[in-house]
Symmetry: C2
């Protein structure tokens, strides 16, 4: 805990909000994680056999106790309640829990919740104040509704693979689960906005979002240029970093190391690095002659080390940066001062280090050392606390 | 407008919330755009000379009227109020406006707002209920506070360039302004959560977020594996799509076209595509022999067209997808049914097509045909409406 958080006087914004998370893998659970960090109480509703399938999804074969490390990363600061939703008795218990909740999130395939009797219309009758949040791959109806809503597959559908990498490279995916993450972030926006509406009107609402729509929204700048011009932006053949931006924008290899160059006017760059041939080009040509200009600069920068160029360019106040990997990043004072890491205490006595919520509120870092729950850990306690009937375990 | 929105009966969640946006470029303005789409009234406070510098930032040299198309994309559905913040009289007008606002967002460099007399402490005295939201590159203090907070440069600082592209490729940036977008999304979360807190407690708060912290949060899964194991995930040498995932995850070139293959068990894949040599590998080897396995599959899939493989693999229910560019995507019925596009009416009579907000609320699409404002278009009207004194223009 940081000094600011030490005294426990901080009152998080979503304190008192109860969220039921019928979710697995990343998109829904990452939304639940953010809501938890903002102060909500998040209860995962899990199948008693295996639970959230992310528990058994290995990444790099890393495990913590019986669960995958990935699961622990996404599900810290939550509770776990197990119920077999195909048993009427246990389903009744869940409905009693829903009566007392503020938010329900699910990322089941379209139709699954309704089949269980837990679709929006049914649940709205049980609890008209509930915010019902639904994540899908491609929306809940229409010809794509049954396609598999998996991150890489959705990326493939959205044209996103023509933004990264150079022109002659194969289609290049974003190397993280960008669709899941964006959809989770946007769902949190929708849920909290819906809580404001609910607090004002007394009425719950249904929020829907799909991975596909999230990834389209992500490309809103590029898509608008395409809609308006009819032309697809093309990746630079040299050091592409953003298909819509002109030279010299990109990452350049040096004799040792790499440097990032952002929007630097060609004339200013030339005054500083004296690149042979670059004086034939002006600022007006940074789009029309983008790749030629970048090739000249790329060739020239290979003659000296990154540090040499960085010193020169920074003296002139130009927008450049050295590249850091995580080891170098973590060793820097600037990184350490941000206190981006936090420890989470596992049930088995072990501690793992993870990142914290990036949002600061009144200088408070939103920390939590509470680990991801063992499957069903909180079931009995929640049954007693919420007086869920007919559910002796 | 869709049928659902036609009758104008829909009451958006942030209706009545007044946001003052002291922002330029992308991170802050994209947060303002989402708040506007959720129903807030967003007033851009701009310098009377040039305004938001994004107005003159060309992308692909596309302009609409006197402003860049990019500006129009990010700033639709807002108003523009111009004030010279170095004039005491106009500053007093702004302070009067702040008294009546709910949210202030800025993305000036650290210290600039305080120097103008508009830092959190001062503004909180004027309006103790105000949510004050501050976006920076690397936080407001510490050794990195003065570094340029530009998307590509922040990417370079965070190790993000070692996630996309193949192992032997140069460090590969995400080919969109990922830091700006994520920071904008997260800031919206912080702002709306703070409004809930404010509505409950009567107290405004300060929300801080930096591009750097947003990009670290984005990498939370991978960073946690690094913190726990001390080992950096490495990109696959063959068709990398996510450094943490095993074979066959990636994009594969076929005799014609490409296919995306997500988490498909090796045995199931082998049963379907009969890849020579693949039967030497088992599911237990998808991490340890990732690149070998992927190389075999990549070689085999080149022998037939994408459609051939897709048909075979889909018959078995395996997670595969064809790659679409925007032209193909836009031609599909599944895309059209989602109604992801909306028209915006410009002051000059022209119409541009852009994307809509991806969040659906009670099946309502959050549409707005209101264009980005001309510089200072709403100044006089706002002065009258909010009774800002001593400010005859």
């Amino acid at each position: 805990m940081t000094e600011n958080n030490k005294k426990g006087t901080y009152n998080p914004p979503l304190k008192g909000v109860v969220v039921l998370e019928f979710c697995q893998y990343l998109s829904g659970p990452s939304a639940g994680l953010r809501l938890a960090d903002l102060g909500a109480r998040v209860i995962k509703i899990e199948n008693p056999n295996k639970g959230d399938l992310c528990r058994i999804l290995p990444i790099k074969n890393q495990w913590v106790g019986g669960d995958s490390l990935l699961f622990h990363t996404i599900n810290r600061n939550k509770e776990s309640y197990t119920a077999n939703l195909k048993s009427q008795e246990e389903l009744d218990g869940i409905k009693n829990l829903i009566k007392k909740a503020d938010v329900l999130i699910h990322n089941f395939r379209p139709g699954v919740m309704a089949k269980l009797g837990l679709g929006f219309d049914e649940v709205n009758k049980i609890n008209p104040r509930l915010v019902f949040a639904e994540i899908s791959g491609y929306g809940n109806s229409g010809p794509w509704a049954k396609k598999p809503g998996q991150d890489l597959l959705v990326q493939a559908m959205t044209g996103l693979m023509y933004a990264s990498g150079d022109k002659d490279n194969a289609p290049t995916p974003f190397g993280l689960a960008i669709g899941d993450i964006l959809c989770g972030l946007q769902m949190v926006q929708g849920i909290i906005a819906a809580l404001i509406y609910r607090n004002r009107s007394g009425k719950g609402v249904k929020i829907e979002l799909s991975l596909f729509e999230s990834l389209l929204d992500f490309q809103f700048e590029s898509l608008t240029t395409f809609f308006v011009s009819g032309k697809k932006p093309s990746r630079s053949a040299v050091n592409n970093a953003h298909p819509l931006l002109g030279a010299p924008y990109g990452i350049y290899e040096c004799l040792e190391g790499h440097i990032a160059i952002a929007m630097v006017p060609i004339e200013n760059l030339q005054e500083t690095i004296a690149c042979p041939g670059l004086d034939n080009y002006t600022q007006e040509m940074v789009f029309t002659h983008r790749d030629e200009i970048k090739a000249l600069i790329a060739d020239h920068l290979k003659s000296r080390k990154a540090d040499y160029w960085l010193t020169l360019l920074r003296e002139k106040g130009l927008w450049v940066m050295d590249l850091k990997d995580w080891k170098r990043m973590r060793a820097e004072e600037g990184y350490q001062k941000m206190q981006l890491e936090q420890d989470v205490n596992l049930d088995n006595g072990r501690t793992i280090t993870t990142t914290r919520c990036p949002i600061l509120i009144d200088k408070n870092r939103l920390l939590s050392s509470k680990s991801a729950p063992l499957l069903g850990k909180d079931t009995d306690r929640i049954k007693v606390e919420f007086k869920l009937k007919n559910l002796q375990s």
